[in-house]
């Protein structure tokens, strides 16, 4: 690779950002983040099997400011990845390729993922 003299196509940083490119890379990044959230959930179950005192400590960490920040972040990441995934599935079936439609669906994905995260936390934590 190092000796390859072929011209390189511009790197990601060179291009002007569009909703489509932003969502494309965020879909990938959120997928990797979701892997970490799955590993955290795995540890959650592991700690649960280790008994009450360990579990109470784990809950204490999860309910701290940082813990909640991470959990809310993971919830958003999963919401985003699923909604963006639905957008990808629509494309796979041949719908929504027009630039205007793709931009609108992109904005819908971003806004809906935020709303969904808020609804999940308000309902899940019994606030409403």
């Amino acid at each position: 690779m190092i000796n390859n003299q072929n011209p390189l196509s511009p790197h990601l940083q060179i291009y002007r950002w569009h909703i489509s490119s932003l969502l494309s890379i965020t879909h990938r990044i959120s997928g990797v983040v979701n892997l970490f959230s799955l590993i955290l959930i795995f540890f959650w179950l592991l700690v649960l099997s280790l008994g009450e005192s360990n579990y109470e400590l784990f809950l204490l960490i999860m309910n701290s400011f940082i813990g909640k920040f991470i959990l809310i972040g993971f919830t958003w990441s999963m919401s985003f990845h699923i909604l963006s995934g639905i957008r990808h599935l629509a494309w796979d079936m041949g719908y929504g390729f027009e630039i205007k439609t793709a931009n609108i669906s992109g904005i819908i994905v971003i806004i809906s993922s935020l709303i969904l995260t808020i609804i999940f936390w308000l309902l899940g934590r019994g606030i409403i």
């Binding site: 690779m1 590993i39 795995f42 959650w44 179950l45 109470e56 309910n63 959990l71 999963m78």
Partner: protein, 107 residues
Amino acid sequence: MNETRKWVLHRISAIILAPLFFWFYFSLISLSTKNYQEAIYFFENLLFTVLTIFLFFIAFFHVKISLSEIFEDYIHNQKIKDVANILALILSIIIPAITLILLIYKI
């Protein structure tokens, strides 16, 4: 596995996972406010246990295919790529398998 089949299975697993994850995350968020006894009680529900195990297996199947795609795009050294793929495969088998053991025998 050929690439077309991978592509199709990746989409099918995504369609199965989407509703499962909405349900699972909602459950976990409400579980984060409950104590040990209530959490244990949660997993005494057979449906919850079975769905959680199912979700882990399908999710890590999805993860394995996705990680291979990412390695394909960003790792140029074939040897490193092969090792990364093997590690991803081990991870995607071990974690669901341990989850299965935990949920059936330990919790």
